[in-house]
């Protein structure tokens, strides 16, 4: 995994609550056998019309979307299925962080494994971000701090090991493999 330390971008705001993984990437795009190229299917049912043409009014199709890497989303982003295709699609499109008041468990875990930083903020900060689309924000993984315009800073929770992995580009599989003696010992003791 690539190292991630700070992400600075103007924000894109999708304020809907409970944006589920079927919206992030509909099931019919899950028949791939690779990770690459899923960015074109990101939010497909909202982004394209029945003929497959981009809907000009959908956020990701607007000129502002170009180059932005931070998504501000409504509460409970990423609920629903365990498909890792959801963070793959977001990352492939260019996103590096998602900010919300709540992010669903499995999505959050999947995001972290792909260098997409889940940033949980309080209601007030969230309300401000929703009200200020395009605000320039910085996600500082080292300090677990989100910086907002006007030198405002809010801290966000990040599990310590996940933070370590992001900062050092550590992949968890390597870590687990390095603990193989303990795993073998557990099995000798008699796994259930």
């Amino acid at each position: 995994m690539e190292k991630v330390s700070t992400i600075t971008s103007r924000s894109l705001v999708m304020s809907s609550t409970n944006i589920d993984t079927d919206q992030i990437i509909p099931a019919r795009f899950l028949t791939t056998t690779t990770r690459e190229g899923l960015g074109k299917a990101l939010f497909a049912d909202w982004r394209y019309d029945a003929e497959g043409q981009p809907r000009p009014d959908f956020l990701l199709n607007t000129p502002e979307a170009v180059g932005r890497t931070v998504l501000v989303a409504g509460r409970n982003f990423g609920c629903g299925s365990s498909r890792e295709h959801a963070p793959w699609a977001l990352v492939d499109f260019g996103f590096r962080a998602v900010i919300s008041t709540e992010i669903a468990d499995i999505f959050r875990s999947n995001a972290l494994k792909n260098g997409l930083v889940p940033v949980i903020v309080d209601e007030d900060t969230h309300a401000w971000l929703i009200a200020h689309p395009g605000a320039e924000v910085t996600v500082d993984v080292e300090r677990c701090v989100l910086s907002l315009p006007g030198n405002r800073e809010v801290s966000f929770p990040l599990e310590s090991f996940a933070r370590y992995c992001l900062l050092n580009g550590v992949d968890e599989l390597g870590f687990l493999l390095s603990r193989m003696p303990a795993i073998e010992e557990y099995e000798r003791r008699g796994a259930k």
Binding site: D20, D22, P26, L30, T31, C79, S81, S82, R83, L177
Partner: protein, 466 residues
């Protein structure tokens, strides 16, 4: 030692290394179930790193999600029509063969939806840790297992090491007392619970369903309840194992036999939460107040009794949901027209569910405006249903009877609901586009689905169950 919960016991006995402030626990996984959609990229990682599937004896694969449900395609008489689905099926066949993983393949008489076959074979057992690259893995918690969905990267971790890095979740007790009324089932109960908890109410928690109403449920019903734990955002759902659990498992092909059975029973009897064990949160419900339920919106928390009305007002998301569904605030759900009825999925496609549907359909016909699809959860369910003649009831009523698979639960195998059409579905997700682009899904019990198929309108099943 302080009194412990079921979850705490299962968790503790699977810690290879306990969590610390700096590192998550290394949790041992007893059983890894896998399917064609969330495994290909994990196999690729193993290949890139030159790693084997470490414990093929703890890994079981099947084909369900993108698998066609019509006979000719399934049994190879004609090619699988959806090319992408065909590639995915072939990829799992190749990967399973290359890595030595047992695959219940297209022609296997044990094949079925991953969450139906685990219990059916008896590999799902109390006290086990069970994972699968699928969020409805929570189903297996009905047996007192700790079972949860994982992403594809983690699928690779389990394949390579039989372990996962996990932070210990919190616990939530959902205590349900009282008795479900006639015509009201486990699906109605879990929809009512999600309605109360909300779709993120369980985030970060493992739910233990307990209380006299839960104890009174059959294993099939407990599976329906645990299945939808994820729809409340919970990591997993569990029910303490008891005699109902043991009776279900005894004699299953892969359950312990003989002395091993006796030894297993002794372990399993020690699993239930001890008196006085504390949960991080507790929610109480009275089962006798639950009515047949149906969803009106685009997540499972947007739910009312079949006899109820859509809320009169709400926020922007509420407006967007109603617009998608083509409904107005304050409307009654009963009487709304229905185009498609889907009976199937890991929530409600077991034999008991099909019997419920047959109870309503026997001697009746599906309304001519409705297309009804009945899709058994596994090939075994299919055989058992046919042995009882249930399929004849469905066919006589004008419904379609298919081979097992996920089918219309998610639009990726060729079975879909057309844009703008209304579907009453016994599955678990009513997200926008879940059953096909633009499809409008209303989640309900098998009884409500069957009753609505007969009348062509959303119908309280109690009206037809005189």
């Amino acid at each position: 030692m302080p009194a412990r919960t079921l979850f705490e016991k299962v968790w503790a006995s699977h810690e290879v290394v306990a969590e610390t402030a700096d590192t998550p626990a290394i949790l041992y996984i007893d059983l890894h179930l896998t399917h064609e959609v969330t495994s290909p990229q994990a196999f690729t990682v193993l290949r890139e790193r030159g790693l084997p599937v470490r414990r093929t004896d703890r890994t079981l694969a099947t084909l369900d999600h993108s698998t066609p449900t019509d006979r000719a395609q399934l049994f190879g008489e004609v090619p699988i029509r959806l090319e992408s689905a065909r590639h995915q099926v072939e990829a799992l066949e190749r990967n399973a063969a290359a890595f030595g993983v047992e695959l219940l393949g297209l022609k296997s008489d044990r094949r079925g939806i991953v969450h139906i076959i685990g219990p059916e074979l008896g590999v799902t057992q109390p006290g086990k840790t069970i994972v699968c690259g699928d969020s409805h893995t929570s189903t297996h918690g009905a047996f007192g297992a700790l079972a949860f969905g994982i992403g594809t990267t983690e699928v690779g971790h389990v394949m390579a090491t039989q372990c996962l890095l996990q932070r210990k979740p919190k616990t939530l007790a959902v205590e349900v007392d009282g008795r479900l009324a006639p015509g009201v089932g486990a699906k109605d109960l879990i929809l009512a619970i999600i309605g109360r908890l909300g779709v993120s109410g369980g985030t970060g928690h493992v739910i233990e369903y307990r209380g006299s109403a839960i104890e009174a449920l059959s294993m099939e019903e407990r599976m329906t309840v645990c299945n939808m734990s994820i729809e409340a955002g919970a990591r997993a759902g569990m029910v303490a194992p008891d005699q109902t659990t043991f009776d279900y498992l005894q004699g299953r092909p892969r359950a312990p036999q003989g002395d091993a059975w006796e030894a297993a029973l002794e372990n399993w009897r020690a699993l239930p939460s001890e008196p006085g064990a504390s949960f991080d949160r507790v929610m109480q419900m009275d089962a006798s107040e639950v009515l047949p339920m149906i969803t009106w919106g685009t997540n499972p928390g947007m739910v009312v009794p079949v006899t109820g009305t859509i809320p009169a007002s709400g926020d922007a998301v509420f407006q967007k949901s109603l617009q998608y569904m083509g409904f107005e605030p304050g409307q009654s759900m009963a009487g709304k027209p229905v185009d498609v009825v889907f009976v199937g999925s890991c929530t409600n496609a077991r034999l008991s569910d099909l019997r419920e549907v047959a109870r309503v359909l026997r001697g009746r016909r599906v309304d001519k405006s409705v297309r009804m699809l009945v899709v058994p959860g596994s090939q075994q369910v299919k055989r058992e249903a046919e042995a009882e003649g249930l399929h004849q009831v469905f066919l006589d009523a004008g419904a379609e009877w298919r081979e097992s698979g996920c089918s219309m639960c998610l639009g990726m195998n060729g079975d879909t609901v057309a844009s703008g059409r209304y579907s009453v579905s016994t599955s678990n997700r009513n997200f926008e586009g879940r059953q096909g682009t633009g499809a409008r899904t209303m989640l309900a019990s098998p009884l409500t689905a069957a009753a609505s198929a007969v009348t062509g309108r959303i119908t309280d099943p109690r009206e037809l169950l005189a």
